[in-house]
């Protein structure tokens, strides 16, 4: 019991650091990945050494630097920027909005199962909690757009809300299939159910639950995973669903008027949300902290479980970035079209398929 308590304390502390570290790493990755896909180099100048030198006021350059400290330097820069509240803005809401957005993301981090004893808040309705709390961010986004008294901000916020609300439906329905198979909402138990060989992962059906017959779920689970992944892109306002922030139309969408640290908080929250979205995908479909090879899991190497989990999430984040730098932005009507005419019918289909399977085949 004591042991678990200590682990919980440690995991909470780790989570606090994890949010910002994840944000910083993903921003760096994003810049590098996008650069490589466009035949550029990306950040190259700011290494940790030159950042330290710059703080004490010295300019240095060394060959072979790859810009590892770029996000950190950007954060430092944003910290020093003037904090502007526009004239005519609703000051209270304007200042509250970034905190709500960040709070929603941060609270979602709490329930992520990094390892068996590494769940900061192991609640038995973990999945429901994460879905609920990460949708909380919409409120903050709408608030930000409304309070900044700016037409781009308001338009961005409106689009964002419309998008998030409609994409909640396919997300919810596609995840219910997994819940039906597992019979639980606890993320930790879902991961435990996927331990063993990688074909036990829910992406490949329900083999760990019902033996070989679970393979009949493979196609629907694949569809479910694709739908969940697509919707999580839309939920986090990523391209090709980035119409709330559409740079070429709306300046920056709901955070047009934000400067300095408040802007940085929006930015961190966005990358945090991406991490949470993909962490759910990993937990539910890709076996969470299980490596997929039982020998490796049983070897009990300390610290390997969270590492596997985070690696899987970052592989998915790479795919997210890959999609972003490949596909053009959807129009608003195309966006709604995709959601209501394609994603929702398919999720309903998989939902009934899984229901029938559950009732008649087990």
């Amino acid at each position: 019991m004591d042991n678990i308590l200590v682990w919980t304390m440690i995991s909470i502390l780790v989570m606090v650091g994890l949010v910002s570290v994840v944000g910083i790493i993903s921003i760096y990755l994003e810049r590098k990945v996008s650069a490589f896909m466009q035949d550029r180099l990306g950040p190259m100048e700011v290494g940790f050494g030159s950042l330290a030198n710059a703080i004490i006021g010295k300019k240095t350059f060394k060959e072979g630097r790859i810009g590892l400290a770029q996000s950190l330097a950007d954060g430092l820069k944003l910290l020093q920027k003037e904090d502007i509240v526009p004239k005519g803005a609703d000051v209270f809401l304007f200042k509250l909005a970034p905190m709500i957005v960040f709070g929603g993301t941060f609270a979602a981090f709490a329930a992520l199962p990094l390892a068996e004893y590494f769940v900061p808040a192991d609640i038995n309705i973990g999945l429901f909690y994460i879905l609920a709390i990460s949708s909380f961010g919409v409120t903050g986004i709408l608030m930000a757009g409304w309070a900044s008294n700016n037409k781009w901000g308001l338009l961005g916020a409106l689009r964002s809300t419309a998008q998030m609300v409609s994409y909640e439906i396919p997300i919810g329905v596609s995840l219910i299939s997994i819940v039906m198979i597992c019979g639980t909402l606890s993320l930790k138990e879902m991961v435990l159910a996927q331990s063993g060989w990688f074909w036990n992962w829910h992406l490949f059906g329900a083999i760990s639950h019902n033996g070989a017959i679970g393979i009949v779920l493979l196609p629907v689970m694949f569809i479910n995973f694709l739908i969940y992944f697509t919707c999580s892109l839309a939920e986090t306002n990523r391209a090709p669903f980035d119409i709330p922030e559409a740079e070429s139309e709306l300046v920056a969408g709901y955070h047009t008027e934000y400067t300095g640290m408040r802007f940085a908080i929006f930015f961190l929250a966005e990358y945090g949300a991406i991490f949470v979205g993909n962490a759910i995908a990993v937990t539910l479909f890709l076996g969470g902290w299980n490596s997929g090879i039982p020998m490796l899991d049983e070897a009990n190497i300390p610290g390997i479980a969270p590492l596997i989990f985070i690696t899987k999430v970052f592989v998915l984040i790479f795919v997210v970035m890959w999609v972003r730098w490949t596909l053009p932005r959807l129009r608003v009507d195309q966006l709604m079209n995709l959601c209501w005419k394609y994603l929702i019918p398919f999720t309903l289909f998989t939902f009934f398929y899984v229901t029938i399977y559950k009732v008649f085949l087990t």
């Binding site: 490589f36 896909m37 466009q38 035949d39 550029r40 180099l41 350059f61 890959w322 730098w325 490949t326």
Partner: protein, 216 residues
């Protein structure tokens, strides 16, 4: 297009696009996969005759104003002061320099980099080079001053020239005066010579005039 046709088309086009970007991502590790040049540290060499910045080797300039006259936008400003013979050294190709260049400014903010000023120069001292990195924070810094005299020196040169001019003028006046005096002298002498016969003629006239009166 049919409903499922749409879906399959979406998948195939997305796959095509993603394949292309992934190829670029993979090729980024190859040396020719990336097109960025890290400019301040490495630079692509410019063409040999690229025209960027003007330079004047002022010790070779004879102040002939040919460049200033050739410039289509009139952005070369030259002021000269006459120098006494022998005070200035010759140019490197053996021309005589007879003028102090008290001002030789090129306004690079007005310059359009046509290099037309470089062709007529008899001593080939104004040249255009490939140094393009001359960003300035203030526009007035783009006025390049090539004259190697400080303002005090310019003042001194001007004053000396003025003195010389005055001296020359004084000399000239003196010369002129002397010349005039000499002329006057010569004239008076000539007059004196011519006066004697005149007087005689006059008396004759008088006599001739008086004669008919007496006849009446």
């Amino acid at each position: 297009m049919s409903y499922f046709g749409n879906i399959s088309k979406a998948f195939s086009t997305i796959a095509t696009g993603m394949k292309i970007t992934f190829r670029h991502f993979k090729n980024a590790r190859k040396p020719d996969g990336i097109f960025t040049t890290q400019y301040p540290h490495k630079a692509v060499p410019l063409p040999k005759f690229s025209r960027q910045q003007l330079h004047n080797r002022i010790e070779d300039c004879i102040g002939c104003m040919k460049c200033a006259n050739a410039c289509p936008v009139s952005c070369i400003y030259i002021e000269t002061v006459k120098a006494p013979a022998g005070t200035l050294s010759d140019t490197s190709n053996g021309q005589k320099r007879r003028l102090y260049l008290t001002r030789y400014d090129i306004d690079m903010a007005k310059c359009m980099f046509c290099a037309l000023c470089t062709y007529p120069c008899p001593t080939e001292c104004i040249t255009i080079n490939s140094d393009f990195n001359f960003i300035k924070f203030e526009r007035k810094d783009l006025l390049y001053k090539f004259s190697d005299y400080s303002p005090e020196q310019v003042e001194q040169i001007k004053q000396e020239a003025k003195l010389r001019e005055q001296q020359e003028a004084a000399e000239k006046i003196a010369k002129a005066k002397a010349a005039a005096e000499a002329k006057l002298k010569a004239e008076t002498e000539a007059k004196a010579k011519a006066e004697v016969p005149q007087v005689e003629a006059k008396t004759e006239e008088v006599k001739a005039e008086q004669k008919p009166e007496t006849k009446e």
